[in-house]
Symmetry: C2
């Protein structure tokens, strides 16, 4: 999916919501355990209930890997299902990968060829040659960690480098590697004050924003400071939506929670000339 198509999706749905598929078999309704693949059944029901509201889905790889082979089977099934909606949703492998060139190439193969995700989250510590192999795929995206939502973001990301803080250096330097048509940044909603400044650093790039909801990020401030003329934000919500109910009505409850989030989002979204 290219940037224009992504924006069309946002305009059509008047939403920039990403649903995080952090599916934990211990937290899903117990009656699903009677199915051969409870994790997939859960994901499918969540997707079906929210497909008109969400523009993106983000399976969190750790949750699938923690179950070993059966988790990977659930992930593959989920992606096969999501890819039936090609053009209607943007898919994100939340994998935080990154390694030396020949290894990143293999990760790119895993996520872009084998699983056919539209994008993958990548960690910046190893620099350019760890990111480049992911950028060699047309209409696929790298979502590079910029300023993360967790407490540990304070350990290194705010270090002064003599030329801005580390996360600012990452955001500045990475723009030499990838254009706004193939590169986004992860910017946590728990730093709403930083968005204004980051928007100046990378005006034309999309940001994937975790941390609204369970982690305490502020939607209003994030939107006020982070939205660009092309929207430029994809806000992720996982636990608040997928675990809105632990009963048999989990999908309806997820839909209700997603709708509420999208209605709030729509207040902040600019009116696009193409609408």
């Amino acid at each position: 999916m290219n940037k224009k198509e992504l924006l069309q999706l946002i305009i059509k749905k008047r939403s920039f919501l990403c649903v995080g598929l952090d599916t934990d078999i211990q937290l899903i309704p117990q009656y699903l355990l009677k199915y051969p693949d409870p994790v997939f059944e859960f994901n499918k029901a969540i997707i079906d209930a929210t497909i008109d509201l969400a523009i993106a889905y983000k399976p969190n790889l750790a949750f699938y890997e923690s179950m070993g082979l059966s988790g990977w089977a659930s992930l593959e099934k989920t992606m096969k299902y999501l890819n039936q909606f090609k053009g209607q949703v943007f898919t994100i492998a939340d994998a935080k990968r990154g390694d030396i060139g020949n290894t990143s190439k293999m990760y790119a193969k895993a996520f872009f060829e084998h699983l056919d995700f539209d994008s993958v989250t990548v960690a910046p510590y190893m620099g350019e040659d760890s990111v480049k192999p992911f950028l060699e795929y047309k209409d696929k995206w790298v979502i590079l960690l910029g300023l993360t939502s967790n407490k540990g973001s304070n350990d290194f990301q705010f270090l002064e480098t003599g030329n801005g803080k580390l996360y600012e250096q990452v955001i500045t330097k990475a723009q030499q590697w990838g254009t706004p048509d193939q590169l986004m940044f992860v910017i946590g909603a728990t730093h709403p004050e930083a968005f204004k400044h980051i928007r100046q650093l990378a005006p034309d790039y999309f940001y994937l924003v975790p941390g609204v909801g369970a982690q305490g990020g502020d939607m209003q401030k994030t939107c006020e400071n982070g939205l660009s003329a092309d929207c430029g934000l994809i806000i992720n919500s996982a636990r608040n939506i997928i675990y809105a109910s632990k009963g048999e009505d989990f999908a309806q409850a997820a839909q209700k929670s997603a709708r509420k989030t999208v209605e709030e989002m729509a207040n902040y979204l600019p009116v696009f000339s193409k609408e």
Copy 2:
């Protein structure tokens, strides 16, 4: 495996060689394709041929993930096989993971519980709470990226932070999170000059050293500058060993290449009082 047991292994084998299982189905001898799981057959033959020489094995996750479900099946089989040699080898999941706390916890579950690795490589960008969940397992290890072997290590790791370079900050700060009995650092052999200084920063920690061989790192300088009284180094070699021959004699060729490397290593290894 704890630090004492690791050192006993090094003393017994007079080796600190790790064999990198970067197994690429396109590079293994073609006659293996007749087996139901060619990647596992290859790994098993390499392990059998080098088990008396190597103290560690390091599957590189990207190579398995690139094959999807069948790759994960090969990885699980390889780990089941390696875990039959418990106490005789140290196992490393080269995965470069790291995410917010609840997600790192899931990765820890994947690698330490499900696959039962002794250690996992972790990226430091997201800070303390992204690393801690891995440190909560007794006798399991985090191997944190310090100074990596690739060209991109120059992009951020050498940035001056006002209190040392970024990689020095990482190595210094992480020692507050984990002891030398549960934490190691990745230090690339392509920076042999940095080892002396790093050894002063973290005198009692083990370093996992990639970059000898195909990436051009210098074994002699690495050993002269990096060895500690407790050895303190695990040197990885992948391509030079596992692809020493592309014919049916690949396992014997791997053994020969591993033996040559171990003989070179033994020259630098101190004589331990317990020997």
